[in-house]
């Protein structure tokens, strides 16, 4: 194999790096892109833009919004808002608000943390993932409890159980069965996630720096029967 990396000296490589850095520094984001990103941020852009129609005709805009809201309420949300699995997965990125739950003294496969009667697993001994904190949130009127875990590499995941009936799986989720447990894997916002049911409740395991296969293995772990489904 002709590998050119063995040829240039360190000094030559440094010169190449400097050349790349210098060439890169010449590149600026186009003005249109800057304007679009400023709009996303809500920051006023340098170029003055015409006011949108709704700002010029506020009465018409208000009526239009009212009509749209009524249509949405009737057509789209017949039973009120339902949280989505991806909403629950995003809880994995939030900070913990409570300390790490302790290990369950009588059951090494479980933590002394539970929600809706479901105990959270203790993955430390089997997989090296230790619990580091927990938090409770409300998603569209439903309580959701999350326990956070970290592995020795510093990767962080959140295990969320949502109160109430099962949530719909995200569209495009890939179904699989691991150790007899039916799971649906999905991706949201650059993070991997897995959802499955325990006693009719949706459970969601998600994290940014974690392979899907790891999430599937953790989610399906039964801890010699201590983790109930």
């Amino acid at each position: 194999v002709n590998d050119p990396s063995t040829n240039p000296s360190e000094a030559e490589l440094e010169r190449v790096a400097a050349t790349i850095r210098s060439a890169s520094a010449e590149v600026r984001a186009p003005a249109e892109l800057r304007e679009r990103v400023d709009d996303l941020r809500g920051r006023p852009s340098a170029a003055a833009k015409p006011r949108p129609w709704w700002a010029r005709f506020p009465a018409v805009a208000t009526a239009a919004v009212a009509v749209a809201a009524a249509v949405l309420a009737i057509v789209v949300l017949p039973g009120g808002g339902e949280p989505s699995v991806t909403d629950a997965a995003e809880l994995a990125e939030l900070p913990a608000s409570e300390p790490a739950p302790a290990a369950e003294p009588d059951q090494p496969a479980l933590l002394a943390a539970s929600f809706e009667g479901l105990s959270y697993p203790d993955w430390k001994r089997e997989f090296g993932w230790r619990a580091v904190g927990e938090r409770t949130d409300e998603l569209d009127g439903r309580d959701a409890h999350t326990v956070f875990y970290e592995n020795p590499d510093g990767a962080r995941i959140g295990y969320t159980i949502v109160a109430g009936d099962a949530l719909d799986e995200p569209s495009g989720a890939k179904r699989s069965v691991v150790d007899g447990v039916e799971l649906a894997a999905f991706e949201t916002d650059g993070a991997n996630g897995v959802t499955w049911l325990r006693d009719g409740h949706s459970c969601i395991l998600a994290g940014e720096d974690v392979e899907r296969s790891t999430l599937l293995e953790l989610a399906a772990w039964k801890g010699d029967g201590a983790v109930t489904f």
């Binding site: 990396s5 040829n7 190449v16 890169s24 990103v37």
Partner: protein, 180 residues
């Protein structure tokens, strides 16, 4: 719900900090340069950067191990990979692996860019994925070795090795192009 344990402070909240949207937007030029060499196409780079910011700014983001720019470059790379998966292709199967075409596309994006700069960036964009992403993160985006390691999810030693080999390939490509 477990009862909250009264006096304890949140365990890892102190390790997390919120991404400052204002500061994130200040990294636009660096993110755009990185996108340009990552995908080798002006139009795609603009779309990727806009999509990345749209995602990142859509709600509060909490960073633990990443610095702002590292987080943004990681999000950019994730967006690019999602884009490729949607197209059913891998990074090296993009339509613009020809350095001359990449240089032309980069030139369209930045007409003021010198010919040499276009060739250099095109040579980076034409690298195999693992080298290209590393050179893009460090030499183009401006991340440190440790920041790049976190952003790309590899060890710091891997970054140094890939960087060295990537730069060597760029040097070889430029020497083939002729003096300068």
């Amino acid at each position: 719900v477990n009862a909250a344990i009264g006096d304890h402070r949140p365990v890892d909240a102190s390790e997390l900090r919120r991404l400052d949207p204002e500061a994130a937007v200040d990294h636009l030029d660096r993110l755009y340069r990185t996108a340009l060499v990552m995908c080798g196409s002006r139009e795609t780079a603009e779309d990727l950067v806009q999509e990345t910011y749209a995602k990142v700014l859509s709600r509060p983001r909490f960073l633990r191990r990443d610095d702002d720019l590292g987080y943004l470059i990681k999000a950019l790379r994730n967006t690019w990979h999602t884009h490729l998966r949607a197209r059913g292709s891998r990074p090296q199967e993009t339509e613009l692996v020809d350095p001359e075409r990449i240089a032309a596309s980069i030139g369209q994006a930045n007409p003021q860019l010198s010919l040499e700069a276009r060739e250099v960036l095109a040579a980076v964009a034409a690298l195999p994925e693992e080298f290209r992403d590393t050179v893009a993160a460090v030499d183009v985006g401006g991340l440190s070795y440790s920041e790049a390691a976190k952003a790309l999810g590899v060890a710091e030693g891997t970054i140094m090795s890939r960087l060295s080999r990537g730069r060597a390939r760029v040097a070889e490509a430029l020497s083939r192009e002729g003096p300068g």
